[in-house]
């Protein structure tokens, strides 16, 4: 008996014969694997973008903090400048305010202090009446 070569299969028939019955079971995991790889790929991209976005947000917040801190310093400066005794004295002089010539002192023992004010002032009497 003489051995014969298997005829060279051509076209679709050949591919069918080459994979035979196993074509169905092998393509499903391949597709699944491909989808998985793509999902992981996109997930990584998404995570990277999310991280970058967070970093930018963080940077933005830090800039905002710096701006607010700068503003707070400016406000502290303005407040201190407003309390400048020279400014207050100049302003008081401009408004015609002077030290009272005649003073009375009301010693408030409970408060441990003293109030010095022009004599005969009604508001001072009202103040002492309101004290415990």
């Amino acid at each position: 008996m003489t051995a014969q070569t298997v005829p060279y299969a051509r076209g679709r028939a050949a591919r069918q014969s080459a994979v035979g019955e196993r074509r169905g079971p092998r393509i499903v995991p391949l597709i699944f694997f491909t989808i998985l790889v793509m999902a992981v790929f996109f997930a990584m991209i998404f995570l990277r973008i999310a991280l970058d976005r967070s970093a930018f947000q963080l940077e933005s917040l830090e800039r905002q903090i710096a701006t607010e801190e700068s503003l707070q310093l400016d406000l502290r400066l303005q407040l201190a400048q407003l309390q400048d005794p020279l400014r207050i004295a100049t302003e008081a002089t401009r408004m015609g305010l002077t030290y009272p010539e005649d003073r009375v002192a009301i010693v408030v023992d409970d408060l441990g202090g003293v109030l010095i004010a022009p004599s005969g002032g009604e508001p001072i009497q009202a103040l002492t009446d309101s004290l415990p």
Partner: protein, 589 residues
Amino acid sequence: MSAQRIWKPGDLRLLVVGVAFVLAWAGIGFRLFDLQGNQARAAELATVGFDQRITERAIEPARGTIYDRDGVELALTIDGWNIVVDPSMLDDPTATAALLAPYADDPYEELALTLSEGQESGSRYAEIAMRVDTSRKHEVESVIAAYNSDVDKAQRVTGVFYRPQPLRVYPAGSVASQVIGLTSYDGGGGIEGLELTFNSELEGDAGRLIVELDPSGRVIPQGEVLLEPAAAGADIVTTIDREIQFAAEQALRRAIQTTGASNGAIVVLDPDTGAVLAMASYPGMDLNERSEVTPGVLRNRTVADMYEPGSTLKLLTVAAALEEGIVTADTMIDTPNRIEIGEFDYSDHGNNPPAMRVADVVAKSSNIGTIHIEQMLGRDLHYEYLTKFGLGGKVGLDVEGERQGSVPPTSEWTATSGSSIAIGYAVHTTALQMAAVYATVANDGVWTEPYLVKEIIQADGTRITTNARTRRVLSFDTAQTLREMLGQVIEIGTGSRAALADYTAGGKTGTSEKFDVEAGVYSDDTFASFIGMAPLNDPRVVVAVVLDSPHGSLEDGTSLTLGGASAAPVFAEVAQNALHQLGVAPDRD
């Protein structure tokens, strides 16, 4: 039998592509091996690559704030900027100069020249305004934005940048300028006053930020980052009361304008604690106007200027004699018109009776009487009390430039030293040292080390509080007797112009002739001083006033060279204001 192989054109293409791929990967592999397989070169290239991506930025620490005793800022650091232009990026330097001239340090002509020349020479850096605050920076940004919105893209102003430059600002301007001092112009360390003394505490420690940059110089968000935060400087809380300081400075300024004195100093102490409530020197300056800085203007004369205290030192001689039981307030002391000791003649101003009580010796400021008391005391005890009261050594105040004064040791005393020192000559003191002597009497005989810094608040919130050194020098009874004598100085003695409207007070006048170093003799100029305390029964403030070379006279003809005429009224004004500010109840109708 062999398998039949049939080549087709597609197979050949595949082969070519495959070979190309293999060669390409082989090339890459070879290059990788070439770059990384060679250890020495790999390390070098890794370093180069690291350096290209990684940059280190210094993080400047925030300089600490200096506060007054009520927590009001005397010095603080805010964000500031230097405005920088890249001339090579300008389309029209003259138009840019016209736009920015109102905000630049130089006038338009100079600015236009700078930018034009910079553009021609290819310069990329021109600082046009230094140390502007954030609001000013926003103004510049707005002006540029408004301009750019009105012109073509090619004509827009670009190339204007803002380089951070922290600004040290002093909200109270000239108030306590000599105490606070200054930092260097570039925002660096302190160069005067507390800014210098506490520079290491105020400046903090610099940090650093190591970041990975992209080729455009932007920070790569997920790149390598190493952050070592800067440690902010500590805050300094002083004992200065801004209102009392202001009142003292105003009173000193008026006194110097009235008397024509060349300069002066005032110290206000809380005798119970040793806290310095005010230290005024004249002349002063607005710390925000550096152009006003001239030699001597930042000199804290209360600790840096020494003078012979004159009659204010008589109190110490009498205090020592009282404490040692050598005299009492009523002991009679011979007071002839003049006495001769060694080569010197000593005399009194005016006509005193031939003998006076010790209390009257103080009230009338008798030189002869005080010298007799000193002779009874003896040089050793005299010297012992001079040092006990802190003379001849620094009081330990926390400021640069404090002088310790001089008290010669008894081994160097001549026949006249004791007499001269008894009446305030031959020793050199500062205004603060003399204030501390009187604060001892005010504090029932306990000498308390004056201090200027109440506490240091570190960045982590830790507070370091000052605890002043104290020592008893006099007994309670001696101190009380001395206060009564000082009250008499104002009631019936040489210090009548030091009387306060609302409070009882006591103090001592002082007038010492100024030694002319070049001529080697005492001149007609004087140091006029008054040191006192109020209220007398429970002193809350001690005020020392020293005027250098006042001249002229009052309407009644009294010479302003005398402490009782020129310095005493200043004491009254400052003490009254200070007591009102402290809320002390008046004890006088």
